[in-house]
Symmetry: C2
Subunit: 332 residues, 2 copies
């Protein structure tokens, strides 16, 4: 299955991915991206995310020395949006969308990223995530925490930060993943993601990365209040989702331009039976062909089916062979 | 509904789009793209798609003077891929994927695009599409014809061309759209897309563009053999899919970096009852915030829900106000 194209089932989306391994061989004359900016100043007086600076709405940031959470100045979701009114026609349905968008800086310095931060600094970030989940998740049915990392991935600011979008509706993707997990649980009597993790361990597919499973213990304690326990599914999900990761400089702890997502039911869903659901995080490496060429998810992918040019096994092999240390901290 | 965020139902995907109109107001300090290349030579001796040139596999292109169809030298689908073998576990399912990938040049010159071609040249392209659909569609259950236009959209060659990926499986997206159309038909006794077109006409949402409906007549004749009749749904679909279109230089006939897709059931599906299905094309304008800034479909969009910063009405208004003539042929 590493040599020839085939379809792989994605049980979290009940859909299929076309894997065409040999496509990586083709020449590339298309768009080439700039490599990520290497020389970002610790402090930039013009960056609205830095401590003490003034943001677009005139507010001045505190002189924060750890994480800093504030409301997005240009939110996609606001708490008071009016109801668009009812259109009775089934093809023209609309619904009110209400919610809140926040931004959370990870660190006062612009020149660090999560992997470059000290362990106790990272713990502060994770504790804050749990706090946000608990606070907003008390009422909102969905709290999406995610990091768009790097300009190539639509991030508009180099300062280390994530976003929080809480909504009064369950968005399409978590709704789908909830349905898939529920169906699996009803049929097999055990959570899909736990069985998946067990199988991966048995099959030793991601053996060298099973250390992620160890981290999960810590999460269990932090997240008891959200009724499910956390399990870091990062590497498992690599095999379920199309992606490219061929930036040779990058190590496991060094994902430039990656996407980080937290998945957990909240709000009214907390009163339901969540036996089927596993709290998990989606950690997408950049969609790359090489360090500077994107894997474009365009024509075929947008309107036919997800397609990837590298098998999960090839990707895992690449990841396994990368040094553990971040390239920025390695001696040359 | 143009001022405040709300959800809109997408009946072709049975999912919702978050529309947050006011987000366009925010400043942008992220990635800016190069504008599309304006000075492409008619003939480039190094371009593998030009007449008489040699491709990567050593084959020499004919001196074609209209369309030119050939097999993709780096196909994502090949007719003879082996079966990956059966994994009995429901979470680790794989399937054989077989098919064929072709490339079709629209014109011998590299410096034209569909809107710049003469009507009889465009007709040749459309006739070829129908021919391909009939030929590959005789056996393959799905024939995806699509154009990735422009480097920003992952197109690796400026020469005007489209791709054809025919597969032995129904990909996820058409499978979903088939299911939605089928359910609607069963419930309401009429095709979803026909009712949609009727409603749009009645509501006069796309009034100024109803000329597209006129074109559809021609398609009816061409496509009788494929058992359904074609209806150009271009503008209707604008209201169903997230997109950005704010390149002021562009007119309706001048979509740089757009995506064109043909949707039609084929192969074994032709023996089924297709009363619910409308042959249609998806014509996606570029995902843009402005002429050079993409609308990034990243963190929230990839793992929560499609989100757009412009309502379909605002987009329609922009389109309506554009000149009919292509900017390259306008006198300055
Ligand atoms: O075949 P091409 O033009 O090299 O490839 C392009 O279209 C394909 C189908 O949408 C995508 O999979 C590629 O990522 C994109 O770059
Ligand atoms: O809020 P930002 O960082 O300006 O915006 C970024 O993330 C959003 C959520 O994924 C996307 O909708 C935008 O397209 C992207 O540029």
């Amino acid at each position: 299955t590493t040599e020839h194209q085939h379809l792989r089932y994605n049980p979290l989306r009940d859909s299929w991915v076309l894997v065409s391994a040999h496509r990586m061989k083709r020449p590339w004359a298309g768009q080439v991206e700039k490599p990520p900016e290497e020389h970002i100043p610790k402090y930039d007086p013009k960056n609205p995310l830095c401590p003490r600076n003034t943001r677009a709405n005139g507010q001045v940031n505190p002189d924060y020395d750890s994480t800093f959470l504030f409301e997005n100045d240009f939110p996609a979701l606001q708490p008071d949006a009016p109801d668009p009114g009812e259109d009775q026609h089934p093809l023209f349905q609309t619904r009110a969308a209400r919610g809140i968008c926040k931004v959370m800086c990870f660190h006062p310095w612009s020149d660090v990223t999560l992997p470059l931060m000290k362990m106790q600094e990272i713990v502060k970030v994770v504790e804050k995530w749990v706090e946000i989940l608990e606070e907003l998740g008390a009422t909102y049915p969905w709290v999406q925490i995610f990091e768009n990392k790097g300009a190539m991935m639509g991030c508009s600011n180099p300062h280390p930060h994530c976003q929080v979008w809480a909504s009064n509706f369950l968005p399409n993707e978590p709704a789908l993943s909830d349905r898939c997990q529920r169906n699996y649980y009803q049929k097999h009597g055990e959570p899909l993601l736990l069985e998946y993790a067990r199988q991966e361990a048995e099959r030793k597919v991601w053996h060298s990365h099973s250390s992620w499973l160890i981290y999960s213990k810590k999460w269990v304690e932090w997240s008891q209040q959200v009724l499910v326990y956390i399990f870091f599914l990062m590497f498992n999900l690599y095999s379920l989702k199309p992606f490219q990761f061929t930036d040779d400089r990058s190590s496991v702890k060094n994902r430039s331009r990656c996407l980080l997502f937290m998945y957990s039911p909240t709000g009214p869903h907390l009163k339901e039976d969540n036996s089927h659901w596993q709290l998990h995080a989606h950690y997408y490496p950049p969609l790359l062909r090489s360090g500077t060429v994107k894997k474009f998810m365009v024509g075929y992918e947008m309107l036919a089916q997800e397609q990837r040019d590298l098998t999960p096994e090839q990707a895992a092999e690449k990841l396994r062979n990368l040094p553990d240390q971040h390239y920025k901290t390695r001696e040359n």
